[in-house]
């Protein structure tokens, strides 16, 4: 089975080579798509087979570099991620190739394709590597591949700035990972994950240092607040299919890392860690969606929603580890399962939404929501796909977002009913409800301002539907969202088994989780009943209106005769009441004038904290400038002074 997986990876890399080698040929795109899609299908099929059988397959490659031999393994936890990476990766490749085709004349498109294929391969290797050295190599390959794609449109200052911020953030994270593995490896004879896991009992404070460093290292990649600041600029600068992959799966490797570390440490981290994860999840969720509401660039808005969803996943991980730490196997499984399923679901609907934003950009040439409107009539299939994604992300039935949020909620409710201090997790329930309701508000804003109403500019007026090659990947992703929503058992059954493995418990002792697997059939009933009721209502209304007059007129403007698209509520005005309720936390600057109202978002971490802090450091460092004279004699004097001080010190030491 691992052989089949590696054949898939090899096919992806062959796609990368083909795109590079055939770059002057007309067939380059076709060869690239066929090879990478084939690779994704092959590796994905291997992962699905592992998920069905629940087995673990591994291969060990002897190595000459320090750190022992290289182990790659496909276990159920890795398989969940490999399957997601392959499905989303394939959709993004299928979308991205025709999307970039028209830029061939003035940009090295082949190079973006090559890097993209390598990036997908690196992603699958990150989640299958089971030793420190290959893991870090794949991790860096992924980081650099993402960087090269973020700065693909490097003639734009924004893209270069986003790339710089990204590369600083990702390497700060990697530094934390180096520290984490160093602290861990010091207690182990070999650097394979299996040996690291067996070193767990000898770790000081139950691996507390390692877990803290893991939050820093993997948290940067996942984008927990306040480590999220690289995400919005990077996602808005990268080409759309790259943003979809970044948001859909690249940031999820941070979640994978956290779950892998937790699993290697035995599934039950110390209580403080669980509470911290829960708190981080709540903060990321609420602030992520609040900041998203303030955005007017569709891709930046979607990027902040990734922060929000990472927050929901964080709540799941927090509940999972708290359940394990307090000895409730069922709650542990529910939390981890919710986190895992939300990871998969978010990968599906967020990449769908990003591709939708890309289709809008393709059709209108702008990402500014205030310049759009009325696209539902002009891009009907894009609107359908975007609508599915929006309904899925707000977590309502009958789509997949509901299923994973339901798992997390059940985990929170079960924690609230626990006898110990664990029940304080009850306060996570209203927080998650607030996140859900704000997400609803935000996607009402996006869908309404971009797709509904009247076009706000001539560009939006002239837009027309994107080619079929761009629609198919979106509708495939949308179909997956519907499938996992109306047949939730598929997802729930799989992730509960994997979550039990992460928590280190046998699935049959997790009573609360078993109830959820059983009742996922009811979720299915609710979803299908809803669709049936809607269909029935449609028929009833058609019958009612059959012999009645149905007129089409202009929208009722309360008697006002000369209506213009400018009178519509804008994205700024739509979000204003909510943002003003949250005051300064929402991070917007308002501009009011007699005929216009506009809000401008600022990132409270990047623009208001990180960059001012950096300027402060630089200013302080400038104070030391006078000692750097650049003259040789000055430095000789410094050396002399240092020597004298040292000698004096040594002399005093020996006297004592």
């Amino acid at each position: 089975m691992i052989g089949i997986f590696f054949i898939g990876v090899a096919l992806m890399l062959a796609g990368a080579v083909a795109s590079c080698a055939l770059r002057r040929h007309a067939a380059a795109d076709r060869a690239f798509i066929v090879l990478v899609l084939g690779g994704c299908l092959t590796s994905g099929a291997a992962a699905v087979a592992i998920l069905v059988s629940g087995a673990r397959v591994a291969v060990t490659v002897p190595s000459t570099v320090p750190g022992g031999s290289w182990v790659f393994a496909l276990d159920p936890l890795a398989a969940v991620f490999v399957a997601t990476i392959c499905f989303v990766g394939a959709s993004c490749v299928a979308f991205g190739t025709p999307y970039l085709a028209h830029q061939r004349a003035h940009r090295p498109v082949w190079y973006a394709h090559t890097v993209f294929a390598v990036l997908i391969a690196a992603l699958t290797l990150v989640v299958t590597a089971q030793a420190i050295v290959p893991f870090l190599i794949a991790w860096e390959l992924m980081a650099i591949g993402s960087y090269l794609l973020i700065v693909f449109e490097d003639e734009k200052g924004d893209a270069r700035r986003a790339g710089l911020i990204y590369i600083i953030a990702t390497h700060t994270g990697t530094l934390a990972l180096f520290a984490m593995f160093a602290a861990w490896g010091a207690h182990a004879s070999d650097w394979s994950f299996a040996v690291l896991a067996s070193a767990t009992p000898s770790l000081p404070r139950g691996g507390g240092v390692i877990l803290a460093l893991a939050v820093l290292g993997f948290g940067f990649k996942a984008g927990f607040v306040p480590l999220h600041f690289w995400l919005p600029p990077a996602h808005s600068a990268a080409p759309t299919h790259v943003s979809a992959l970044l948001s859909g799966v690249v940031i999820k490797t941070g979640i994978y890392g956290l779950l892998r570390v937790v699993s290697l440490l035995g599934g039950a981290p110390p209580r403080w860690w669980g509470w911290s994860m829960l708190a981080m999840g709540v903060v990321s969720g609420v602030l992520g969606v609040l900041w998203a509401l303030a955005q007017h660039d569709i891709k930046r808005l979607l990027a902040y929603h990734s922060v929000e969803n990472i927050g929901i996943i964080g709540i799941g991980i927090g509940i999972g580890s708290l359940g394990a730490a307090y000895g409730h196997a069922g709650i542990a499984v529910l939390g981890y399962a919710g986190a895992l399923l939300h990871t998969v679901n978010h990968a599906l609907f967020k990449s769908l939404l990003f591709l939708g934003a890309g289709a809008v950009y393709h059709a209108t040439g702008t990402r500014d929501m205030e310049a759009l409107g009325g696209l539902a009539k002009r891009l009907p299939y894009t609107w359908l796909a975007f609508f599915i994604g929006a309904t899925a992300i707000i977590g309502v039935p009958p789509l997949n977002g509901f299923v994973s949020e339901w798992l997390v909620y059940v985990g929170l409710f079960r924690s609230a009913q626990a006898p110990e201090a664990l029940r304080l997790a009850a306060l996570g329930v209203p927080a998650l409800a607030l996140i859900g309701a704000l997400a609803l508000a935000c996607f009402a804003k996006v869908s309404g301002v971009v797709f509904l109403g009247h076009p706000r500019t001539a560009g939006a007026e002239r837009a027309h539907e994107v080619p079929r090659a761009l629609l198919v990947p979106m509708l495939v992703l949308g179909g997956a969202c519907v499938l996992l929503g109306v047949a939730p058992g598929l997802g729930v059954l799989t992730v509960v088994d994997v979550a039990a493995a992460v928590a280190g418990v046998r699935p049959n002792v997790a009573v609360e989780a078993i109830a959820v697997v059983r009742d996922s059939a009811w979720v299915s009933v609710v979803a299908l009943a809803l669709l049936a009721l809607l269909a029935a209502g449609w028929l009833v209304r058609r019958n009612l209106l059959r012999r009645r007059p149905v007129r089409l007129v202009e929208t009722w403007a309360c008697g006002y005769p000369s209506v213009s698209p400018r009178m519509q509520y804008t994205a700024s005005s739509f979000a204003a009441p909510l943002l003003s309720t949250f005051g300064r936390m929402s991070g917007v600057v308002e501009h009011r004038s007699a005929d216009a109202f506009r809000t401008e978002p600022v990132d409270l971490v990047l623009d208001r904290s990180a960059i001012p802090a950096w300027h402060w450091v630089r200013r302080t460092a400038m104070r030391l400038r006078p000692i750097q004279q650049g003259r040789l004699y000055a430095y000789l004097i410094y050396v002399m002074v240092a020597l004298v001080v040292l000698l004096a010190y040594l002399g005093l030491e020996s006297r004592r």
């Binding site: 539902a376 309502v396 409710f413 209203p430 508000a441 009742d519 009612l544 209106l545 005005s573």
Partner: protein, 317 residues
């Protein structure tokens, strides 16, 4: 691996006749609630007012009319009214309307209840934005703002009852299971009932959050969202709102009056009485206070949430 354990935990379902009967009753009687509210308000302000069955007459009239659609709209507008009814009806099947058990009950169905109402709201909002009208944009903006505050309040109520009843489904939280623990947790449960009344006023767009009787578009929330709906669509939306009030009335009733051992007819009579009483209570509020200024509404909703939160703290201490 887990499939075997799941198969072992299957339980048989009970005969759902009483639940089905209560659902039918709520579906039929719900339009009376806004009528009772209006009548109470009229009587208390010294007017005669329209008859209590006015909404039935309105619905009958609207269902026989044709429809007027805006040329700007798409299928999103056509879906909104249907979704309002479908989601509310489906949410009602999850509530133990007969005081014992619901038609549909499963682990965490409380989440499904809240999120079905959320879906209805989302689609209604999209339908309103579909018209491109500035008035409806204003209404949706306010609706989603206040709904964002109602949702945490509703979930505080749910988690409080979840802790009180040690159950995760509305059947457990509001039905027979709650009454086994009731004497111990009564203070919290009563606080939650009051909190639910506040949330109902906000959720169903009544005074002091919104005024269904106003005809000044600038001050409306819910009403202004449905300006462009007409004929059967408007009927669906008016009906869905009444049904939502009926469901909330049943929820509040379940928290304060036990109906576990009663005969079906007595249980049904209490349910009808509760729906009428909730209408009267809404009317009482509407005639005793004015609509709040928009910036004050979040405080009102937060106050309702705080009641539920206080109940939760009583249980967690």
């Amino acid at each position: 691996m887990i499939t075997a354990a799941v198969a072992a935990s299957q339980t048989g379902a009970e005969a759902p006749w009483s639940a089905l009967g209560s659902l039918g009753l709520v579906v039929l009687v719900a339009p009376l609630i806004p009528g009772v509210a209006t009548k109470t308000r009229a009587l208390l302000t010294g007017r005669r007012g329209p008859p209590v069955w006015q909404l039935y007459a309105d619905l009958r009239k609207l269902l026989r009319k044709g429809a007027v659609y805006s040329v700007t709209t798409t299928w999103a507008f056509r879906l909104a009214a249907l979704a309002a009814v479908a989601t509310t009806l489906l949410a009602a099947t999850i509530v133990p309307l007969d005081g014992r058990g619901a038609l549909v009950s499963f682990t965490g169905d409380a989440v499904a209840f809240a999120y079905l109402l959320g879906l209805g709201r989302f689609l209604l909002v999209l339908g309103a934005l579909d018209t491109g009208s500035s008035f409806e944009g204003m209404g949706t903006s306010r609706e989603v703002s206040f709904a964002s505050l109602i949702e945490p309040g509703l979930f505080v109520a749910l988690v409080t009852l979840g802790v009180a009843s040690q159950h995760l489904s509305l059947t457990g939280m509001f039905g027979a299971e709650l009454w086994r623990h009731w004497p111990i947790v009564a203070p919290s449960v009563i606080l939650v009932a009051v909190s639910l009344f506040v949330l109902m006023l906000a959720e169903c767009a009544r005074v002091p959050v919104d005024d269904p009787a106003t005809h000044l578009e600038l001050t409306m929330i819910h009403e202004v969202m449905v300006l462009d709906h007409s004929g059967p669509d408007l009927a669906f939306i008016l009906y869905a709102n009444a049904l939502k009030m009926g469901v909330f009335a049943a929820l509040m009733l379940d928290l304060v009056v036990p109906r576990v051992g009663l005969a079906d007819w007595a249980s049904a009579a209490i349910l009808v009485a509760a729906m009428i009483a909730s209408g009267a209570a809404v009317g009482l509020v509407e005639s005793s206070m004015a609509r709040l200024r928009m910036p004050k509404v979040p405080l009102f909703i937060a106050g309702g949430t705080a009641l539920g939160l206080f109940g939760l703290i009583l249980l967690l201490q």
